[in-house]
C-alpha cells in the first residue's frame, strides 16, 4: 500500500483553542479511512486544513509525493482532492445539473473569449460537461431532479448532490464530513452503498461520521481524535477495543 | 509653524467630535442591529428641523423645542422602521440599501417643501467659552464631547447589561432563535432603531447649534461621514465608531493643512479603504458575518 495523504505534526490553534494539535496520520491509497471523535475533537478542522480552507498553524501536509501545506483550496482540488461539507454547501439558487457542472471546472478550459465567440472549444466543453453531468446524476439517482433548484431539494438529496458534485472533480481522494447526519437508517444505507461503490472504483474515501454502524462497517482504518489530539489509529476492531477510545467516545 | 499644526489638530478634534457623536446612533442601527441605512443623515436632519419648527415657527423656548423633538423623532423612527425594514427582515440586506435610499430621496424632498429650501440658523444652545492659552474652547464643544462620552457608556451598558439590550444583540445574530427564547423581536428592533435615530437627532441638534446652520440637503453628506466613521472604527464596536469619528476629523483637517483643501475627503476615503484592506473588520471591530 502506498500513502496518499498524510500529515506531520499538524496543528491548528484558534487563539487559545487547540482545535488540532500535533496530529500525525496517513491514509493509504484505495482504502476507506474513518475519522471519529467526540464533538469538537477537531475533525472538521482537520478537513479544513487538508483542503486548504484553513491555513495551518504548524506542521505539514503531504499528498502523494508532494507537500500541499497551505495551498489554496482550488489548487488542492486540482491535485485531486474533493470534499463535502458538514453544513451542506450547495449552490442553492442553481439547478441540480448546474451544480454538478461546476465540479468539472478544473477539467474544462473554456475562457471568456471562447464563450463570447461560441467556438468549438466551448461547444466541446459544454457537451462533455452536460453528458458527464447527467451520468453523475444517474449514479446518485437524481436524474429526475436535474432541473430542480438545489435549495428545494430534500435533505437526503442535498447530501447526495454534494457527493455527486465532488465526484465531478474526478478526485483520487474524497473527503466526506458526516454524510449520514440527519438521515434515517434507510437513507443512511444508500449513502454507505454509494461510498463503497466509489471506493471499489478506486477512489480513496475519508469519512467523518458519528454513526458507528457506518464507520465500523465500512472503514479499513480509523483515526480517533480527542480534544484536537490523536488518540488512536487502527482497524475498527483495534479501535473498538481501545479503552481510551471507549472512555472518550464510544461509551459503555 | 508648530502652532499652526496644533490649531489644525484642534480643528480636527472639534470636527471629529461631531462625527463621533453622529456615529454612535449610526453604529447602533447599522453595526449592532444590522440595518443598512443610507437615509440616516436625512432622518437626522429631519429631526433637527422638527425642533427648529417648534422653535422658529411655533415660538417655543429653544431648549424646550429641541427636547420636544426627541420623542417625536422616536416615533418617527418607528415609522421609518416600518417602511424601510419591517417587511425585509428576512430578505437580503442589500434591499435595505435601496429602501433607505428611496426613503432618503423622499424625505429630503419632502423636507425641502415643508421646511423650505434654504439654510436655517439655529442659535447656540449654550453660550460661552473657556480660554486655555491660545485656544478658545466653547462650552458647546465641551458639551459635545461630554455627551459623546456619556452616550458611549450608556449605550454599552444598555447593550451588555440590560435585558432589552442583550435581546437586541441576540436578535441581530439570529431572529428566529431570539423569538424562541422570548424576545419580542419586532418591538426590540423598533426600539433599537428609534433609539439610534434619537441619538442621531440629538447629535444633529448639537451640530446645528455649533455651526448655527442646518439645511435639508446636509443629510447625505452627514450620513456619509457617520457611515465612514463607523466603518473605520469597526461596525460592531460603538467606542470604535467614536474613535473612527475622531480619526476621520483629524485626518481631514490635517489633509487640508498638509495637501490642499480639495483633497480633504479624498484622504478620508483613501484611509477608509486602506483600513478595510488591512483590517476588514475596521480598527476596533470584531470579525462579523455580514
Amino acid at each position: 500500500m502506498t500513502k496518499i495523504l498524510s500529515s506531520e505534526n499538524l496543528c491548528k490553534y484558534f487563539g487559545g483553542v487547540r482545535a488540532v494539535d500535533q496530529v500525525d496520520f496517513s491514509v493509504d491509497k484505495g482504502e476507506i479511512f474513518g475519522i471519529i471523535g467526540p464533538n469538537g475533537a477537531g475533525k472538521t478542522t482537520l478537513f479544513n486544513l487538508l483542503t486548504g480552507t484553513l491555513g495551518v498553524t504548524k506542521g505539514k501536509i503531504y499528498f502523494k509525493d508532494g507537500e500541499i501545506t497551505n495551498l489554496p483550496p482550488q489548487k488542492v482540488t486540482r491535485l485531486g482532492i474533493a470534499r463535502t461539507f458538514q453544513n451542506i454547501k450547495l449552490f442553492e439558487e442553481m439547478e441540480v445539473l448546474e451544480n454538478v457542472k461546476i465540479g468539472f471546472h478544473t477539467q474544462t478550459k473554456t475562457n471568456m473569449l471562447d464563450a463570447v465567440l461560441k467556438n468549438n472549444k466551448l461547444k466541446e466543453d459544454e457537451e462533455k460537461v452536460h453528458l458527464e453531468g447527467l451520468k453523475l446524476l444517474e449514479r446518485v439517482n437524481m436524474l429526475d431532479k436535474k432541473n430542480n433548484l438545489a435549495k428545494n431539494l430534500s435533505y437526503g438529496d442535498k447530501r447526495r448532490l454534494e457527493i455527486a458534485r465532488a465526484l465531478a472533480v474526478k478526485p483520487e481522494i474524497l473527503l466526506v464530513d458526516e454524510p449520514a447526519a440527519g438521515m434515517n437508517p434507510h437513507e443512511t444505507d444508500e449513502v454507505v452503498e454509494l461510498l463503497e461503490q466509489l471506493n471499489k472504483e478506486g477512489i480513496t474515501v475519508v469519512i467523518i461520521e458519528h454513526d458507528m454502524k457506518v464507520i465500523m462497517g465500512m472503514c479499513d482504518e480509523i483515526l480517533v481524535l480527542n480534544n484536537g489530539v490523536k488518540l488512536a489509529q487502527g482497524t475498527a476492531a483495534e479501535v473498538q477495543k481501545n479503552p481510551e477510545v471507549i472512555e472518550a467516545y464510544l461509551g459503555k | 509653524m508648530f502652532g499652526f499644526y496644533l490649531s489644525q489638530l484642534f480643528n480636527g478634534i472639534t470636527q471629529g467630535s461631531i462625527y463621533a457623536l453622529m456615529a454612535i446612533g449610526y453604529s447602533l442601527i447599522f453595526g449592532t442591529l444590522g440595518l443598512v441605512t443610507f437615509a440616516y443623515g436625512d432622518i437626522v436632519i429631519f429631526g433637527v428641523f422638527v425642533g427648529y419648527y417648534f422653535y422658529a415657527v411655533l415660538g417655543l423656548n429653544l431648549i424646550l423645542a429641541m427636547l420636544l423633538a426627541l420623542p417625536i423623532t422616536f416615533l418617527f423612527g418607528v415609522l421609518v422602521e416600518k417602511i424601510c425594514y419591517e417587511k425585509f427582515r428576512k430578505e437580503a440586506r442589500m434591499l435595505m440599501l435601496i429602501t433607505t435610499v428611496g426613503f432618503g430621496i423622499f424625505l429630503r424632498s419632502a423636507s425641502q417643501i415643508i421646511f423650505g429650501t434654504g439654510n436655517k440658523s439655529i442659535p447656540t444652545l449654550i453660550e460661552g467659552k473657556i480660554e486655555i492659552g491660545n485656544l478658545n474652547i466653547l462650552y458647546i464643544q465641551l458639551g459635545i464631547i461630554i455627551f459623546t462620552l456619556i452616550f458611549i457608556y450608556a449605550l454599552r451598558y444598555f447593550l451588555n447589561n440590560t435585558r432589552t439590550g442583550i435581546g437586541i444583540r441576540a436578535l441581530s445574530m439570529d431572529q428566529d432563535a431570539a423569538k424562541l427564547v422570548g424576545v419580542n423581536v419586532d418591538k426590540s428592533i423598533k426600539f433599537g432603531h428609534s433609539l439610534g435615530v434619537v441619538l442621531g437627532v440629538f447629535g444633529g441638534i448639537m451640530l446645528g447649534s455649533f455651526y448655527n446652520a442646518i439645511s435639508p440637503m446636509m443629510g447625505p453628506n452627514l450620513g456619509l461621514k457617520a457611515f465612514t466613521a463607523v466603518v473605520l472604527g469597526g461596525i460592531t464596536s460603538i467606542p470604535g465608531a467614536v474613535i473612527g469619528g475622531y480619526i476621520l476629523g483629524i485626518m481631514e483637517n490635517l489633509a487640508v493643512a498638509v495637501f490642499s483643501s480639495g483633497y480633504r475627503d479624498v484622504v478620508a476615503f483613501i484611509i477608509l479603504i486602506i483600513v478595510l484592506v488591512v483590517k476588514p473588520s475596521g480598527l476596533f471591530g470584531k470579525e462579523v458575518k455580514f
Partner: protein, 238 residues
C-alpha cells in the same frame, strides 16, 4: 395539554404540512418521526409561530395560541429547540444561556445562578467553553448549548427538533437519557422530533409518523416499535 387541529403550513406553492391534528398530554414524551422533508420541523415552527400557518388551530392548556406572537408563546412555557441549533454566534456560551432565561423576568439572581450551575453540571464541556463565542463551537457543542439554553427556560413543554443530529454516540445516549430525566424529574412534557427513530421510541410514550405533510400513523410506543412496515422504513435493521 398541547393540541394541534388541522394544522397547515405552506411555503409558496409547497404544501409542507397538509392539515394534521395531534395532541400531547401533560407529562408525556411524544415523538414525531418521519423521513426528510416530511414536515416535522415545519410543524414545530408553526406551533411556536416562527412560521406563518396557512390554517388550523393550536390549543395550549385550553387556550387558543394559534396567532399569539412567538415571544408570548414562549412566555406560556413552550420551549422550542430548533433544528440547526440557532446559537447566537457572537454571544458567549454563558450569554447564550442567559438568553435562555430571557423570558423569566421574575427570577432572582440566585435562582439564575443555580440553574446555570446545573447546566454546567450536565454539560461540563460548556463550562470549559463558557467565555467562547457560540459561533466558534463545534457542531456537537452547539447542540448541547441549544438544549441547555432551552432548559434555562423551565419550560412546561419542550419541543426538541432532532437534538441528536451530529452528536457523538456517547452524547446521543446522554441526551436521550437527559430528555427522559427532564421528563421524569422535572415533569416537563416533551415533544421530540427525531431522525433516530429507534432512540426516540426507546423513551417515548407515544409516537406519530409523518410522511409528506400528513400523519400516517400514530400509536403507543410498543405498537410502533413492533410494526413491521415501520421497522423497515424508519428503524433500520438491528
Amino acid at each position: 395539554m398541547l393540541k394541534a387541529e388541522d394544522l397547515k403550513i405552506h411555503y409558496g406553492h409547497v404544501e409542507a404540512v397538509k392539515g394534521i391534528s395531534f395532541e400531547v398530554e401533560a407529562g408525556e414524551i411524544v415523538t414525531i418521526i418521519g423521513s426528510n422533508g416530511a414536515g416535522k420541523s415545519s410543524t414545530l415552527r408553526g406551533i411556536s409561530n416562527i412560521e406563518d400557518k396557512a390554517g388550523g388551530k393550536v390549543i395550549f392548556q385550553g387556550e387558543d395560541i394559534t396567532s399569539l406572537p412567538a415571544h408570548e408563546i414562549v412566555d406560556k412555557g413552550i420551549c422550542h429547540v430548533p433544528e440547526g441549533r440557532h446559537i447566537f454566534s457572537q454571544l458567549t456560551v454563558e450569554e447564550n444561556l442567559y438568553m435562555g432565561s430571557y423570558s423569566k423576568t421574575d427570577q432572582t439572581k440566585a435562582e439564575y445562578q443555580d440553574k446555570l450551575a446545573r447546566m454546567y453540571d450536565i454539560f461540563p464541556r460548556l463550562k470549559e467553553r463558557r467565555n467562547q463565542d457560540g459561533g466558534n463551537l463545534s457542531g456537537g457543542e452547539q447542540q448541547m448549548l441549544a438544549i441547555a439554553r432551552g432548559l434555562m427556560m423551565d419550560p412546561v413543554i419542550m419541543m426538541l427538533d432532532e437534538p441528536s443530529l451530529g452528536l457523538a454516540p456517547l452524547l446521543v445516549e446522554q441526551i436521550i437519557k437527559l430528555i427522559k430525566e427532564i421528563n421524569e424529574d422535572l415533569g416537563t412534557t416533551i415533544l421530540l422530533v427525531e431522525q433516530n427513530a429507534r432512540k426516540a421510541l426507546s423513551i417515548a410514550h407515544r409516537g406519530y409518523v409523518m410522511e409528506t405533510g400528513n400523519i400516517i400513523m400514530s400509536d403507543r410506543r410498543e405498537k410502533l416499535i413492533n410494526d413491521p412496515k415501520l421497522a423497515e422504513a424508519y428503524l433500520g435493521v438491528g
